[in-house]
Symmetry: C2
Subunit: 236 residues, 2 copies
Amino acid sequence: MTLAAEFPADRLPDDRAQAIRDRLRDAIIERRLTPGAKLSEAEVGTLFDVSRTIARSALQMLTFEGLVRTERNRGAFVANPSPEEARQVFASRRLIEPGIATTACETIDAFRIDEFRAQLDREALHIAARGPDARRAEIKASGDFHLLLAIVAGNQILLRFMEELVARSSLVIALYGRSGASACGHSEHREIVDALEARDVTKTTVLIVKHIDHIEEDLELEARPTQTLREIFSNS
Amino acid sequence: MTLAAEFPADRLPDDRAQAIRDRLRDAIIERRLTPGAKLSEAEVGTLFDVSRTIARSALQMLTFEGLVRTERNRGAFVANPSPEEARQVFASRRLIEPGIATTACETIDAFRIDEFRAQLDREALHIAARGPDARRAEIKASGDFHLLLAIVAGNQILLRFMEELVARSSLVIALYGRSGASACGHSEHREIVDALEARDVTKTTVLIVKHIDHIEEDLELEARPTQTLREIFSNS
DNA sequence: TGGGCAAGGATCGTATGCAATCCAGTAGCT
DNA sequence: AGCTACTGGATTGCATACGATCCTTGCCCA
């Protein structure tokens, strides 16, 4: 992953817990772990060959990011965002991403554009491919596009906010999305890169907002999902 | 604190660690704990009468919020934000707060306005009072004003982001502030409430941005602070 | 006298053990 | 038959113990 190299990789402490967190987060983003799935400390620990202490630490991080919900004396579960939470996620993105795009427009250079092109190619590759793995990679790559925007903008704080928002978006789409994947967005991504290359701030921000609107329009946020998701985590 | 009652108080797990985190965070915001101060797990644990496990958990949360920096096998320290980080904090606030204010303008009602007025009174009270405790309370209240704005806007995610940004701002001001406290802001807060009451979105957002500008202008971000802050944490 | 090296102390990283809590299934009572 | 109380199992909450790492300090030698 060339993208991973771009990340700050700042916090050396808890490097083991953090590695587990990253793997769990990827699994959630790629929807290998679906909302409501139970994440037992012991199970996570044995799976990654660490003690419950480390597993617990990783789960705590994910709880902080809103990807996991822990209930006292009950355990940790992949978050089950309510329609209201879903709206807040997208409201936050509509607020933050145009600002990120504005900064990105101002600081973009040829090298960064190349990175965007490479990212678009990766997305196209996964879209073209068949099978569930390709689907998951496509979802992940689609989110990475937005993170790349934040990386280019160069604000570490906003990048972290975006990491959280993108991950939670994936969760929301998994729960409320009408069409299967977020395939709708690829052509829009390309338009955004074009506007970025032209350094057209207005066009870029407009396209970004439209893009987010489109994603949200694909959701079915009226009806609440069945609260009886207990059956889902019978996979453990 | 009537304000505390407004917070979601969502995460029941780790309630003990969370209580310690809150107290440490308040201490950092109020600048009882200055940048660079060492936060030993054992010391925090004995201070709050819990084991290192809980203390560690609280410190991990603060690390996540960017208020604490942990170095592997060395310990946790109150964060020492660089000028670049400081700029990013304020860039993020300039991006997010106008959006929050816009939403707040749309949803504000008489009851909420009363809360704002009460908050302004609290600020004025602390400004009028003498002594270091009053100064700390003033700093805290000044930050709470911005959090109240986020509470009124009703977006839990943005509220959490703002909690982090306000806390980090206090850290930045402690490091780079020219004038002692942020007393400059009180009259501006009042103007913002007036604009809010008039539901004047444009005026509110303009005032907010100006207010943030003023706070940042009071900083001295050119010269790096002395890296030899080791002397400071001799208080332990 | 100055630099390298080794011993010591302090702190963190991690695993594990025990108590507390919750849930499920069952037995007993009405 | 339906409802309540109880018991067993599983899981988390928390504390503690041990090993690993880093910094400091004092010693030795050039």
